[in-house]
Amino acid sequence: MTRKFGWFLAGGLLVALLLAGVVSNFASSSPDGLDATAREGCTFDANGEITGGTCIAQREQAHQMADSPLADYGIRGIHNSALSTGLAGVAGVLITFGIGAGGFWLVRRREQKAA
């Protein structure tokens, strides 16, 4: 890996860390296109539980990983919402980069014709 390419990777990673760590706190908290469609027709209480009506999300079940320390893009135990979201974002970027780069490195095409 050349030094120039190393700088490009570092720069790209820094942008991703800033987006996930800082800008993420300015993201819209409205449900996304899928979720909004799924909820349409039902009524919800303050906790987001369905109280009535008919909608796609009616039979939705809890997530198996709901107890993950990073569940719902926050770090469990950190109550400052901006800090919690930001740190979860930073963790996610680093973990995704690690798994992605590591995985792709393992299956990459080895340089042929070494001899």
């Binding site: 890996m1 490009f8 990777l9 790209g12 990673l13 942008v15 991703a16 987006l19 996930a20 800008v23 993420s24 300015f26 993201a27 819209s28 409205s30 449900p31 996304d32 296109g33 899928l34 979720d35 909004a36 469609t37 799924a38 027709g41 987001g48 008919t54 796609i56 999300a57 009616q58 039979r59 939705e60 079940q61 997530h63 198996q64 990983m65 993950s68 990073l70 569940a71 719902d72 893009y73 926050g74 919402s81 979201t85 996610g92 970027v93 680093l94 995704t96 980069f97 690690g98 798994i99 992605g100 780069a101 590591g102 995985g103 792709f104 490195w105 299956v107 990459r108 095409r109 340089e111």
Partner: protein
């Protein structure tokens, strides 16, 4: 705290249909791994890791598209342009698996559905559009930006219709399919426009700084005859 759920949750589509799509996703991803190996050299591997990390970051940035409705980038088109279709589908899948297992976003039972829509359908549609558009549009940052924008809009709408298909096959409720299809298409055109702007800015920036790192500029220009011969 915002409890952002951005992908299909458990229980929206029944167990058998969800299981079928797990099988579909695993089978297609296996093909992607085999095909991706030909593309993945010492440089594309870390680049693909960066693309996955970038997509993870930008997926956290929900933007408002209508009152009470937001959207976020899916990333298929962006990945296709920067790292190619096979590696690109694997990048988006990596993001979805990390989100599901660590961030409780997108049901574990629904992982096949989410991968099929966003990583496979979205990426395939993005690839077809990008490959077609780059035959006519200039291969410079501007042309690449326009390509990314158009391909993103189409790709996001196609991905949204993937959900409609899955719901038609195994939805746990019986709501009107035309209504779901229309609502999903309508909001996802708007989300696609947002994604298109982000993807266009990103690929045009990379094309300006390091055009040699843009897969679409290197590989879609001419067939790589040397590689075929060496294989």
């Amino acid at each position: 705290m915002d409890a952002q759920a951005m992908h299909i949750a458990n229980g929206i589509v029944n167990g058998p249909v969800s299981a079928i799509f797990v099988v579909v996703a695993v089978a297609v991803l296996a093909v992607c791994v085999v095909k991706a190996r030909a593309d993945l050299d010492d440089r594309l591997a870390p680049m693909a890791g960066l693309v996955a990390a970038f997509i993870f970051a930008v997926q956290m940035l929900n933007f408002q598209v209508l009152p009470g409705v937001s959207g976020h980038l899916l990333g298929g088109t962006l990945a296709v342009i920067l790292v190619g279709p096979w590696v690109g589908a694997l990048c988006v899948s990596t993001v979805l698996i990390v989100q599901c297992l660590l961030f409780a976003d997108g049901g574990l039972t629904a992982i096949g559905l989410n991968i099929t829509n966003m990583a496979l359908l979205g990426t395939a549609a993005g690839y077809l559009l990008v490959a077609g558009l780059l035959r006519v549009l200039p291969k410079n940052p501007g042309g690449l930006g326009v390509t990314a924008f158009i391909a993103s809009v189409v790709s996001v709408v196609v991905a949204s219709q993937g959900f409609v298909l899955e719901y038609a096959l195994g939805g746990t409720t019986q709501l009107s399919l035309p209504w779901i299809s229309g609502t999903m298409a309508g909001t996802h055109v708007l989300i696609g426009i947002g994604e298109g702007l982000i993807a266009a800015t990103t690929v045009a920036t990379v094309a300006r700084v390091r055009p040699d790192l843009v897969y679409a500029l290197r590989r879609f220009r001419k067939p790589v005859v040397l590689e075929e011969a060496a294989a």
